[in-house]
């Protein structure tokens, strides 16, 4: 491996979608000497393991805005990044299913909020839901919510598109480079020590996903981000017949058909312990198969060909921590995305770059600073799988 640079302005830690897009946005603003370090390879963490859905149907204003603006960026991202392979971006919609009056009421609030922010979602009856997904079993279904501009993109292509564009502007990406410690001088970060050597720097950006708290600890911060295993499985490919993503909050699952015909599906387990374990379990596939085939009975005859797991970087209020640490100058965090980091990364990275460069971000992101945990000003995102 070539020697890594000994000096940089900014060291970004983590080679997922966030790290790559922050690197790109900083470079595009003209910042020089940017380094990104990744302990394994690009997309090896949550990004390369995620379901890669892109939805704007959120329950907090901030998540709605971050996702709405990210969708605008996704729409022309391949062109913006001059990425020749495309990012497989499709806007096939998201259908959210409501099985209880409480859920339906929450959807009604969410849709009102989303509409007030220009997101074209709407509430649907169960009959309308079946018009959108004709093979849906609507037994017990009370209705749902639908947004036709929600969609999907390929997480590998998106990350590589950002990374290649960043590299063209001079960013150094070092894979197989693990951060061992971070040194401070007079309350400011000054050096990142990695498995491949030390890098003197002025700013550190923590985009380490499920490992964000480990990185925070290196500068003495107690970030309330914790890793939680989430599992996914994928079927053999078949002819296209399900257009939108289908999400069932009360049963904690989501399922969508990919461009090549496979059905990709996952579920959150409310009893999942915190931790770095990403071994898959057979119980997951059995449980999820039962749930899915009761809601989408046509999928009964599909063969599952693979399953895997990755880490959500969970935050207690299911919203990310963004911004500079008040205690440690030059230490920025963009983590704790709680399972929706991929879809809001494009705009979040833009705001992060503005904050890192000392500019006023185009929207105020102060409410996502990690102060909120000390002062107890949490706004819980209700629409999480």
């Amino acid at each position: 491996m070539a020697m890594i640079k000994k000096k940089a302005t900014v060291v970004i830690i983590g080679g997922g979608i966030l790290g790559a897009s922050v690197a790109y946005n900083l470079a595009r603003q003209g910042l020089k000497d940017i380094v990104l370090v990744e302990k394994s390879y690009l997309t090896s963490g949550a990004t390369g393991r995620c379901g890669a859905g892109i939805r704007q149907q959120w329950g907090t204003e901030m998540n709605c805005i971050l996702s709405r603006e990210s969708v605008r960026i996704f729409e022309t991202l391949a062109e913006e990044l001059e990425y020749p392979y495309g990012i497989d971006y499709r806007q096939n919609g998201y259908l959210l299913l409501a099985y209880s009056p409480k859920e339906r009421e929450q959807f009604s609030k969410n849709v009102a909020l989303q509409n007030s922010l220009g997101i074209p979602s709407r509430q649907v009856t169960s009959a309308e839901a079946r018009d959108i997904v004709p093979h849906l079993n609507i037994d017990g279904l009370l209705g749902g919510a639908y947004c036709h501009t929600d969609g999907h993109a390929n997480p590998f292509h998106v990350t590589f598109a950002y990374a290649r564009a960043a590299e063209r502007m001079g960013v150094n990406l070092y894979s197989n480079t693990e951060v061992l410690s971070i040194e401070k001088d007079k309350g400011r970060v000054c050096r990142v020590v990695t498995s491949q050597g030390s890098i003197d720097c002025e700013i550190v950006v923590n985009t380490a996903g499920g490992h964000a708290a480990v990185i925070g600890e290196m500068v003495g911060l107690d970030l309330p981000v914790y890793p939680e295993r989430h599992q996914i499985m994928i079927s053999e490919p078949v002819d296209a017949f399900q257009v939108p993503m289908v999400i069932c909050m009360s049963h904690h699952f989501y399922i969508q058909q990919t461009t090549h015909g496979s059905f990709i599906m996952g579920q959150g387990d409310p009893n999942e312990p915190k931790g770095f374990n990403i071994n898959p379990s057979w119980q997951f596939s059995v449980e999820l198969a039962k749930k899915i085939t009761s809601v989408l009975p046509h999928l009964k005859s599909l063969n599952i060909i693979r399953q895997w797991a990755g880490l959500y970087d969970m935050c207690p209020d299911a919203q990310p921590i963004l911004g500079e640490s008040p205690e440690v100058k030059g230490f920025f965090t963009a983590s704790g995305f709680s399972g929706h980091g991929f879809m809001i990364a494009p705009y979040t990275a833009k705001l992060m770059a503005q904050a890192i460069l000392g500019e006023e971000p185009e929207i105020n992101i102060d409410i996502l600073n990690y102060h909120r945990f000390a002062s107890g000003q949490l706004i819980l995102e209700p629409a999480v799988v």
Binding site: N279, P280, W282
Partner: protein, 364 residues
């Protein structure tokens, strides 16, 4: 969900012998194989075996498969499931099985992984044309299903499989136009190579396939001479008109389950690729998971059978089943395996093994 004392994954020579050896000591065995029949690759081996008298020397592979299968089916200690694929080994020490299309999990106390190996392939322009096969696949097509693969065949690789399958193709009335070997010498046993030479098949040593040709399916290949740096020499190209190309360039152990179970693995080219660390009793670094056969070192069926005996005996013994002359049998099997690996033919395997053998009880 059902219980079994010992799950053996793979019903080839190693798995069959492991099942018989464990059952003989008193263990209850569940033997699974993803094929509809037992015997593994033995069933297509119509040639006679060398090896020791104990391991059915002078018998044909297919006959050995029949003998072992019969013994296994006659044992009331062994339950056999064919058309059954082991999907994964999980943290709760369960193994997920797909049994004729249905999903089941088992909780065995011991697992013997005897999944064998798969054929390596070669990449060259148009290497995906229909008509290009692994040599083992052609052997299965002919000897198991009775299907002629084509009319004019070329074989890549002059190792044992390459020359034996070439001979069997000739016996079946297929024209073998050439055997192409990248190395400057023939790797297979002389006796096999001599047979095909006597029948007039040219063996091109230090040659490789440069390209395949054909529209809908294979119509011909270009071969060329290789220099000392294994690079094709311009001007030495030869065109061969064929409709089947067999690739016989070695095997790689089928180790996915072992990786997934967390067994410590190492890349050892002499043993065929990534292989597990194992004790003398063939236990891996994951306690309770044993290995036997090509999955732990690509060798011949005779060695696989003896390794199966060792793993079967040791796994049964670790459960307390030592009723049938256990110690002597285990010692004999270990000696016999060492014997099979003695001599120049076993040198490669011996040189690869020393680094991988862990002390018994080192499993974690």
């Amino acid at each position: 969900m059902f219980d079994t004392e010992m799950l053996i994954i793979g019903g080839g020579p190693a798995g069959l012998k492991a099942a018989l050896s464990a059952a003989e000591q008193g263990a209850d065995v569940l033997l699974v194989d993803r094929n509809p029949y037992l015997g593994g690759q033995l069933v297509k081996q119509t040639h006679m075996f060398f090896g020791s008298q104990k391991q059915y020397a002078s018998e044909r592979g297919v006959t050995i498969a029949e003998i072992l299968t019969r013994e296994v089916l006659n044992s009331d200690k062994i339950c056999v499931l064919t058309d059954t694929t082991a999907l994964g080994y999980f943290e709760d020490k369960s193994v997920a099985l797909e049994i004729k299309g249905t999903f089941k999990t088992v909780y065995p106390k011991r697992v013997i992984v005897a999944t064998g190996a798969q054929e390596n392939t070669l990449i060259f322009p148009n290497s995906d044309l229909p008509g290009i096969y692994g040599a083992g696949a052609v052997q299965t097509l002919m000897n198991v299903h009775g299907v002629m693969p084509g009319a004019r065949v070329a074989m890549v690789g002059a190792g044992n499989i390459g020359v034996i399958v070439s001979y069997q193709l000739l016996q079946a009335g297929v024209e073998v136009v050439a055997i192409i070997e990248a190395a400057p010498r023939i790797g297979g046993y002389h006796v096999h190579a001599a047979k095909v030479r006597r029948l007039g098949v040219p063996i091109y040593i230090a040659h490789t396939v440069v390209e395949a040709h054909g529209r809908e399916s294979l119509e011909g290949i270009t071969i060329a001479c290789l220099d000392e740096k294994w690079q094709p020499v311009k001007g030495t190209e030869i065109e061969l008109e064929i409709d089947v190309l067999c690739i016989s360039v070695g095997l790689s152990p089928l180790t996915e389950l072992l990786f997934q179970a967390g067994c410590k693995m190492e890349y050892v080219p002499q043993l065929g690729g990534h292989v597990p660390y194992r004790s003398e009793n063939l236990e891996t670094t994951v306690a309770g998971i044993y290995v036997a056969g090509d999955v732990c070192a690509v060798e011949e069926a005779s060695a696989a059978m003896v390794a199966g005996q060792i793993a079967g005996l040791a796994a049964a013994g670790s459960l307390g089943y030592k009723q049938n002359n256990y110690e002597a049998k285990l010692k004999d099997a270990k000696n016999e395996l060492a014997g099979l690996r003695r001599g120049p033919a076993g040198e490669k395997v011996r040189s690869g093994l020393w680094a991988l053998t862990i002390a018994a009880g080192e499993a974690v």
